[in-house]
Symmetry: C2
């Protein structure tokens, strides 16, 4: 009604029309941009899609070209199916699936043949009964087998194909006298399909699971290095100076990404290592490559990443040591973090370049940095007593103890802000009136606990932070040990001083370039080397 009366709105909607049309025409463009971004992220995706298209076209030629069709016949369908199902992103996965499919088919065909031998001499009714019961039994056994962890991990697909082939052959043998040609045709067409898949994945721009795993491992080290550096910088950042929330969010997100990749890498590492173990080594070394060491290194890295996650937790925690106190330890903590970052970066480089890392990778600098942190903590004993009034000169503990009870009930301004923000957050969320009474009870309890927590010695959170830093160094040792083991097992090139210098220079140059690119995206302090 209002529309009919108001001519301006009608006019508006007419004026809006071209814009709407524009909006609709923009949808395919945005889809196209999205699709393009997926390919840009990893160009191997587009290449793989092209490879699948080519393989399918090749296999279709079995049908389309007259001479080929005469040879294979209608069974070419099985070759098409094999290509669709077997051709995977990496060479290892394709080989694994192809072999599973091949062996599954062969075993199923043999078993079906044996059953056929028994069934062929009996009457129709007994035969039907026999076939049905063998289908039931094999179906039960194969499905149950798939729950075995070792089968599930390595041969799950093979068992499915076994079950499929067995059923197809056994059941069709019931209506067809001689199943041998059926089994033979199926086998040969599957072999053709597998051959095309193997050719495409091994010889045409191959993606190796092993290389993926290798570069991911190096990448994880770099991510952790970024996270550690970011965490410590963020912890000691001057809250007043950098009040840009967006900047802060970007920086925290980059910290999160760095270690999160490591924490979430378990299943992808395992499957990559599994597929890599099927791949023929493309280098000259013909011994079995220690892919499982990468998995083990990944698990040690996750162990290290838990500390980084806990360090990140110190940033996000509602209970915080005031900035003024934190800034006392800025230099030694930053130094420890910088040294840890340097070691991680060096390990990443050595893995990436298949070089052994320097024997003194855990260098004296880290040792000195730790000692610095130690003496800094020892020089500020008053911190752990929960008072903020004393100056550096008044060192009498008695005095502190007497003033402790007076100060303990008055929360510090910075703490108050935090408590206020917690309560605020809770209140803004409680918008449904029916649940308000329940929520407010909860709110009261929560706030009480929050305040209690805040009354804790103000240095406790910092102590946790420092302790985590030290713990991180200890875990770094385990990581280095694992890296050395991997390097030995994988026979990396021996370490020479020359490599070290080359890597160092390359790194610095890369860093300079990256800094130029990354300028303004997030504040990673350039390590003074």
């Amino acid at each position: 009604m209002a529309c009919a009366v108001d001519p301006s709105s009608n006019k508006n909607s007419l004026l809006m029309l071209p814009e709407r049309v524009k909006k609709i025409t923009r949808i395919p463009a945005s889809w196209w941009a999205y699709a393009w971004s997926i390919g840009r992220e990893d160009q191997r995706r587009a290449i793989h899609a092209l490879k699948v298209g080519t393989a399918l076209t090749l296999v279709s030629l079995l049908y389309i070209l007259e001479p080929l069709f005469k040879g294979v016949g209608k069974n070419a369908m099985w070759a098409v199916m094999t290509v669709v199902v077997v051709l995977e992103f990496t060479a290892g996965a394709t080989i694994c699936k192809g072999l599973n499919r091949g062996f599954g088919t062969v075993i199923a065909a043999s078993l079906a043949f044996i059953i056929e031998l028994v069934a062929v001499r009996s009457g129709k009714v007994f035969r039907g009964f026999f076939v049905a019961s063998s289908v039931f039994l094999i179906g039960f056994a194969a499905t149950y087998l798939r729950f075995f962890p070792s089968i599930k991990k390595n041969y799950d697909y093979g068992v499915v194909i076994f079950l499929l082939t067995f059923n197809l052959i056994t059941v069709s043998s019931f209506r067809q006298e001689n199943i041998l040609p059926l089994a033979r045709d199926r086998l040969s067409t599957i072999a053709i399909g597998c051959a095309i898949c193997l050719f495409m994945s091994l010889f045409v721009l191959p993606n190796w699971s092993g290389e993926d795993l290798h570069s991911r491992t190096a990448h994880k080290f770099e991510g952790l290095a970024r996270s550690v550096e970011g965490c410590v910088n963020e912890y000691f950042r001057d809250q007043e100076k950098h009040d840009n929330i967006l900047d802060k969010q970007t920086s925290r997100a980059s910290i999160h990404t760095g270690y999160r990749e490591v924490l979430d890498s378990k299943s992808s590492d395992e499957s990559l290592a599994h597929y890599a173990s099927w791949e023929p080594r493309h280098s000259m070394q013909c011994y079995s490559y220690p892919w499982q060491k990468y998995v083990k290194l990944g698990s040690v890295l996750r162990h290290f990443a838990y500390t980084v996650a806990a360090l990140h937790g110190c940033l996000e925690s509602e209970i915080q040591t005031p900035t003024s106190v934190r800034s006392l330890f800025r230099t030694p903590c930053t130094r420890v973090a910088r040294e840890v970052t340097k070691v991680l970066q060096e390990l990443a480089d050595s893995i990436r370049n298949h070089h052994r890392c320097a024997p003194d990778v855990l260098c004296d600098h880290l040792h000195e940095a730790l000692q610095d942190l130690n003496s800094a903590i020892r020089s500020q004993p008053r911190l752990f007593l929960g008072s903020k009034h004393g100056s550096a000169n008044s060192r009498m503990l008695m005095e502190l103890n007497s003033s402790k009870h007076a100060t303990s009930r008055t929360a510090l301004p910075s703490f108050k802000t935090d408590t206020a923000s917690i309560l605020e957050r809770k209140n803004t969320k409680a918008d449904q009136p029916s649940e308000r009474s329940e929520r407010s009870t909860l709110g009261r309890t929560l706030s009480k606990i929050a305040i209690t927590s805040l009354e804790f010695s103000e240095a406790l959170p910092f102590a946790a932070f420092a302790s985590l830093l030290v713990e991180m160094v200890v875990r770094l040792e385990l990581v280095i040990e694992e890296v050395k083991e991997l390097e030995r097992a994988a026979n990396f090139k021996e370490f020479t001083r020359h490599d070290h210098l080359t890597i160092d220079i390359t790194c610095k140059e890369e860093k300079r370039n990256n800094d130029g690119v990354r300028l303004g995206s997030h504040t990673v302090s350039p390590a003074a080397e």
Copy 2:
């Protein structure tokens, strides 16, 4: 040679023969026992295997029974294939796969039909070219589409089936004039297969992904409760009293299992929630159930579990506060842990029983326990100064500061043991002589850093432990908030005091029973309620 000369060894090998035979005959028995254990662990596995066997037998009847075979004919093969591939462990997964297969086939058939319409009027050569290029294009596009995260997550299987069907129909249409019957037969047999799968998974002893997710969530809470309790007990355990290494290992392993399940649950949670969203709700509530809230709760729980992992890290750490110091805080810390455990257990119970949890679940006891811990820490200010000589009476900081330098180079006995064990571990591992020089350099550096770390204020590790406990309580608030949100969204039964009492009594009874069973497996102190 030695074998031939020595008659006793020959005699031995003859005597050993029956034993070897026994050993070989024992192999099937051990396999059987293993298979039995897989089924015992989760009886639904055996039931699922039986269901698959039955479904396959049913679908074989299409071939075996004369009247059915006349109706369906050789295309019954597609029904068999559908059953093998679609029938999954849970109802949701089966529905998801079945619908994906159905829609994939329908879309592919329609597209193939359109292409056929274009191709049918052209010459043989152009037609071959047209079919080959459409196979290439669709193959490329479909494979590329599978890299889109949203497609990969929900419709990956559907796209594979689309590609498969499209190729089969398009390619066979080249040799067969009328593809309509082909497409129709394929569709109808796939529909039969899907119907059998849906019947078996929805109506015969169904396994619901939703129920699985629900009970797993409750189980995670219990695991975390066990881990927290175990961690704190282990931390304050008297090293001399319980020197049984096996006992210690069991206890630590149980801590690890508890939080590890939570940390590793991401992908299984997501897939269960995804499948659950396909399931029809089997209860009376017909609105869409908030399965994604479970995923969110899972991520908050992981956030909580990082703290538990860090707490566990405090146990495993090479740098330890001496037992004598730790024992000063045993009571308050144990109390906080007990209260946290109680809250987690209560949350687990409320989720398991679809009840809302008590509004005062984060009760005053926890608040008091935190305050206790706070005052305990404040009452021992000397701890944070890095000396072990002073008694509780001598509180002069000056004296401490002067003695600090004297004590800083003499590591405590307990620390020494740890350092020695690190070095020992390193040395026993370094068994390859060629690498010994490199390793010993590393060893020296490592040990230097280890010793530096150990010189840190001896209370620092404990401060981290206490801080993590407090942080855990803060994160517990977030968990409770998320649980309340889930309870509201899923419309759990309102909380009544009666429930609370019933649950309480049931819990106590269960606990008593469990304690009876678990006696001796690991030392979880019975919570004094």
